[in-house]
Amino acid sequence: MSLAAGPGRGGGASAAQLPDELQLVVDKHVAYVQSLDTVRQYSFAMRLRRLTLTCSSAETNSNTISRNIFASAAYTGAWWPCIYSTIPRHYQEKDFSTLSSAAYMRMEDLARRLVMIHTCSIPARRSKYWL
């Protein structure tokens, strides 16, 4: 679990190679890390983290709960590409510090759904929670 996961999957080499034949694929790892500078899901993770901080500064009991939800969402890693695509543009660009209570509740609901999407481990079932 991390801020941003994928797109690849570990273990591809192990089936075809004996343990003694495994080598560190340095160039591939460098390219992977460089790609993190531009992928949209990483940018979105940062936005969620900023939102988490904004929520915590409001410092009410209900916001503490929300903060935990957003923190959970921000630290989920497996399905960022599909999660990001579900966020309405309005929310992606919103200045969260000016959200009204009603809008905030909608964001909270959104975060809950993000967690639900993430915790649904069977890809085919994800559509059930599509926003």
Binding site: S2, G6, G8, G10, G12, P19, L22, L24, K28, Y32
Partner: protein, 224 residues
């Protein structure tokens, strides 16, 4: 790594001291540190505070002729209280031993210069034995008993063993093989276990673990 302290001082006069004072303000009466102004305490925050202060050159041991900005004795006393009968450390006094917490506590004692005097060879043996038992038949390491192996513990466990000079107590060849099996050989990155999705977190700690294992071609990483 980039040294940006010069730039910091240029943009924010006395910036290093301001940061150090903020960190120091998070220390609690019992010696531990809070993560922020809302007060959650954890040995992770204590270690992060120590590490940041050491990078800033603001630990009391680094400025022997200046008034200390933190209570080092209270902090190390708190760390020592987190040690359990099995030789490992928990998140707080009385909490279950966990290798992530072992890293933070051993690291904090190392930065404070008290690791050798506190643990001694007997303490290192006991802690080293607990850490060695984190290795499972696959070669990977877990965080505590009965848990799954995970590449990130190649750092948390192994760096703790490096700080107490016990890296040779585990099967290094099998751990190296396990880490390499977690690679995506096509798109790069390492996953927590073979078959899972890669991410930057496990990529970082997997490669750091390989560095501790002296994998050819990698720069040597500082355990603390």
């Amino acid at each position: 790594m980039t040294d940006g302290f010069g730039e910091l001082e240029k943009r924010l006069p006395d910036g290093k001291m301001k940061i150090a004072k903020y960190i120091a303000s998070l220390q609690q009466p019992n010696g531990t540190f809070a993560g922020d102004q809302w007060g959650e305490t954890d040995s992770r925050f204590l270690f992060c505070g120590f590490l940041a202060l050491s990078l800033l050159g603001m630990l009391p041991t680094q400025r022997p002729n200046e008034p200390p900005i933190i209570d080092l004795t209270a902090a190390t006393d708190h760390i020592k209280a987190c040690q359990n009968f099995d030789g490992a450390f928990g998140v707080a006094p009385g909490a279950e031993s966990h290798s992530g917490q072992v890293y933070t506590c051993v690291g904090a004692l190392t930065l404070a210069g008290e690791l050798d005097s506190y643990l001694g060879e007997e303490g290192k043996d006991r802690l080293g034995a607990w850490l060695s038992e984190r290795q499972l038949p696959s070669g990977g390491l877990n965080g505590r008993p009965e848990k799954l192996v995970d590449v990130c513990y190649s750092w948390w466990v192994l760096t703790s063993m490096a700080m107490i000079d016990r890296v040779h107590w585990i099967d290094q060849k099998k751990l190296t093989s396990f880490i390499l099996q977690c690679q995506d050989p096509d798109q790069g990155g390492l996953a927590d276990r073979p078959g899972d999705m890669v991410d930057v977190f496990h990529t970082c700690f997997g490669i750091a673990g390989l560095s501790l294992l002296r994998y050819p071609g990698l720069v040597e990483v500082d355990p603390a």
